[in-house]
Amino acid sequence: MENVLKEFRERIQAAATARKALRIVGSGSKDWYGNVPQGELLDTRAYSGIVSYEPTELVVTARCGTPLLEIEAALAEHNQMFAFDPPHFGDGATLGGVVACGLSGPRRQAAGALRDFVLGAVLMDGKGEVLHFGGQVMKNVAGYDVSRLLTGSMGILGLMLEASIKVLPRPTAETTLRFAMSQAEALQHLNDWGGQPLPISASAWENNMLLVRLSGAVAAVNAARRKLGGEDVGKAAALWDDLREQRSAFFVDTSHIPLWRLSVPSTAQPLSLQGTQLIEWGGAQRWLRADLPAQQIRAAAEAVGGHATLFRGGDKHSGVFHPLTPTLAMLHRNVKDAFDPARIFNPGRLYADL
């Protein structure tokens, strides 16, 4: 692997000298996400492999080019998982891409997001230096938490070579329940249930139908099922997989209407925006398929304390991510310059001026 690192370093140093942009890409499974990638391709897949995995330490460390499928297979052998439920969006998805995009799946509702599980990262910076942040242990407050800062950074701070991620045991039991109810009723129930000790691990509302998944010890799942009622869906694993991978009917839309992701407080009332909606994470993640002006959608999200991302399709010219306040925009520019003064890594992918 040393020769791969050497090549990365030479590419980065040459790019920094020439002030030429590099586009860091794994399999390209999420090339469509974020603003349009620019620059010369830097393929991470040669830097691949699980560096260490010790089930009893609840942590796996792998190189950026390692296929997510390979890591998940290794975890499954020990009945463990990435509890943040990362979407693959393609068979070749790599760990580097997963961490850089920072996306989490249905299980995020209860387990936490990808950033909650990142324990450490190794970064190659704009000078080609290899820097270690965090580590393989769960409690670590030595130095600033740079590894979490890299999570969801869309690769703009440098080339992430390695990541250490906390893993969890798979739940012993899982059951999915179905309830017929309106959006307003679903939001009311989801938030009510959220305040009770119930093992709800995922939820999805669409088309006046609410699905709720219970995960945990057999006794806990059974007790919750008795309490909540609803109709038992039976084998539902594929259903949640399809939701995570956006293969379900709502997401597979051929109408070319843009897909927006609205991240809002779970208690926000139904958003009065024309279009169809699918709601996850107990009300906190609302997918909207609508052909509306970006400004209108962003204003609606902002009005309830959230933000909106143009997730798929649509016009990316004004940027896909929610605009930042002037102070936050300044801090972003400063942080970018701290790690990548030559501004070579994935320019524009997160925001136009980064």
Binding site: T56, D116, Q136, V146, R148, L168, P169, P197, G306, L331
Partner: protein
């Protein structure tokens, strides 16, 4: 009067006058008599009288105080309750201590959204107390929770004994409103589960007051578990105890709490609290389950099986809340007990991969001989956070110095086995030299670059947490490559 003293007094008058223009007079302290309580935090061995103490009562005053100090180029040391154990709030002689303790209002407590909006000076436990009637609580529970404030918790990314299952501050805070040294307000995170752009909230939490001053925090509240029970298991060997921890995890169980104490610790606390600890055991494990009644039953049964098959020599399960608290009382009183049997103690805070526990304890035992000091070990076994308590007497010449060297040696060992110099107490001033062992010069430079991104003038809690390269050179210890033990071929028992 000599010149430096005169200069100091002129500067002090200048800063006090400027701050009094923007803060009420009772919010600016400068008499040594008034500023004395601020000369140290929980790490009382390091003291420094501050030039001025500012006690703003609202965000507008925080902004004004910071702008004033920025204009005068006066360094600021932010402070919560001052319970920190690493000297993160230790004053600077020519600086201002800015305490947010007076901003102690719970702004909003909301059952439906399961969040609380609080000012930085609200005490950790006060949040859970206020949420109790809603059936909710704030999960991170540092041992100082009765006194420590949420602002300080954010600065230190505080943990507690339930981190394995419920996470640290960074996992339980949704939003921080903060003011930069230049007096600009920034909201990091949001009322939703995430925020656009870089995760500056994650970088801010645990930054030891070096990136901004917290003025408001939105925390997550979670439902109180219906019940909790704890198992107390004895082991005749620390290796067996360590293996038992690994076996519990391998069985797919995430206990709500998982703590280990060595023989020195249990012998230290038992006469003091009478928790019923087996003082002949080499290690005692406390393993807690929480949740609904049926779930806890199921988990306790499974955990008991695993602990038994891992060689536990005795097992007791709490059968009432009173008994559960009794079992915990020993662990929770470990620090006061250390203070009872020894005139002074020095608490370390390294984290290690759990598998290295036996090796680390063996090496610490060797160090006890080397430094001629006793050490009791309490261990957050679930998350690998080790708290060796080095016992010493400051009145005996050289003992504090030896304790410091002993502590630094332990931290170096933690890095050597792939761990870290601080799990939850922070670097502050105490472990700043040990940072040179854990991080390379380039990594330290990256930390400074991040600091400059938030505080270009370098005025916010400077000289804490991140050592200058010059300091590392003077310390003279090289960066230890993590996870690589020196002389790996030597047998170790």
């Amino acid at each position: 009067m000599n010149a430096p003293v005169e200069q100091y007094l002129i500067r002090q008058r200048e800063v006090v006058a400027a701050l009094r223009e923007v803060l009420p007079a009772h919010c600016v302290l400068f008499d040594a008599e008034d500023t004395r309580p601020y000369e140290c935090d929980g790490l009382a061995a390091y003291r420094q009288l501050p030039m001025v103490v500012a006690l703003p009562e609202n965000e507008a005053q925080v902004i004004a105080a910071l702008k004033t100090c920025h204009g005068l180029r006066v360094p600021i040391v932010p402070r919560g309750a001052g319970t920190g154990l690493s000297g993160g709030a230790m004053p600077i002689a020519q600086g201002v201590v800015l305490s947010t303790a007076r901003m102690n209002r719970i702004v909003k407590m909301d059952r439906f959204s399961r969040t609380a909006i609080v000012q930085p000076g609200v005490r950790n436990l006060a949040i859970s107390d206020a949420a109790a009637s809603l059936g909710l609580y704030y999960a991170p529970d540092p041992s100082s929770q009765i006194a420590c404030t949420i602002g300080g918790n954010v600065a230190e990314n505080s943990g507690g004994v339930h981190c394995l299952k419920y996470g640290l501050t960074v996992h339980n805070v949704l939003r921080v409103r903060m003011v930069t040294m230049e007096g600009e307000i920034a909201e990091l995170g949001s009322a939703a589960l995430d925020a656009p752009g870089l995760d500056l909230l994650a970088a801010f939490i645990g930054s030891e007051g070096m990136l901004g001053v917290v003025t408001e925090v939105t925390v997550k509240l979670i439902p109180k578990p219906q019940t909790a029970r704890v198992i107390m298991a004895s082991f005749d060997d620390v290796v067996k105890g360590g293996d038992a921890v690994a076996n519990v995890i391998a069985a797919g169980i995430i206990p709500a709490g998982l703590e280990m104490m060595d023989k020195t610790s249990s012998r230290m606390v038992e006469p003091f609290v009478k928790a019923g600890y087996d003082i002949d055991a080499a290690a005692i494990l406390l393993c807690e389950s929480d949740g609904i009644v049926e779930e806890v039953e199921e988990e306790i049964t499974r955990m008991t099986e695993v602990l038994t098959s891992s060689g536990a020599t005795a097992i007791a399960v709490s059968n009432s809340e009173a008994e559960r608290l009794k079992f915990w009382s020993g662990r929770k009183n470990a620090f006061p007990a250390a203070g009872r049997i020894s005139p002074d103690y020095y608490c370390m805070d390294g984290t290690i991969p759990r598998k290295s526990l036996a090796l680390v304890l063996t090496r610490i035992a060797e160090m006890e001989t080397k430094y001629g000091l006793r050490c009791a070990n309490v261990f957050h076994a679930g998350d690998g956070n080790l708290h060796p308590l080095i016992l010493f007497d400051a009145n005996i010449a050289d003992e504090f110095h030896r304790a410091e060297l002993f502590g630094a040696d332990i931290l170096e060992l933690c890095v050597e086995v792939g761990g870290t110099v601080t799990g939850e107490h922070g670097v502050g001033i105490e472990k700043i030299n040990s940072m040179c062992v854990q991080f390379s010069p380039m990594e330290i430079e990256a930390f400074f670059a991040l600091k400059r991104a938030f505080d270009p003038a370098f005025l916010l809690n400077p000289d804490k947490a991140i050592p200058t390269l010059q300091r590392c050179a003077e310390y003279g210890k090289m960066h230890v490559k993590r996870g690589q033990i020196r002389f790996p071929d030597l047998p170790r028992f």
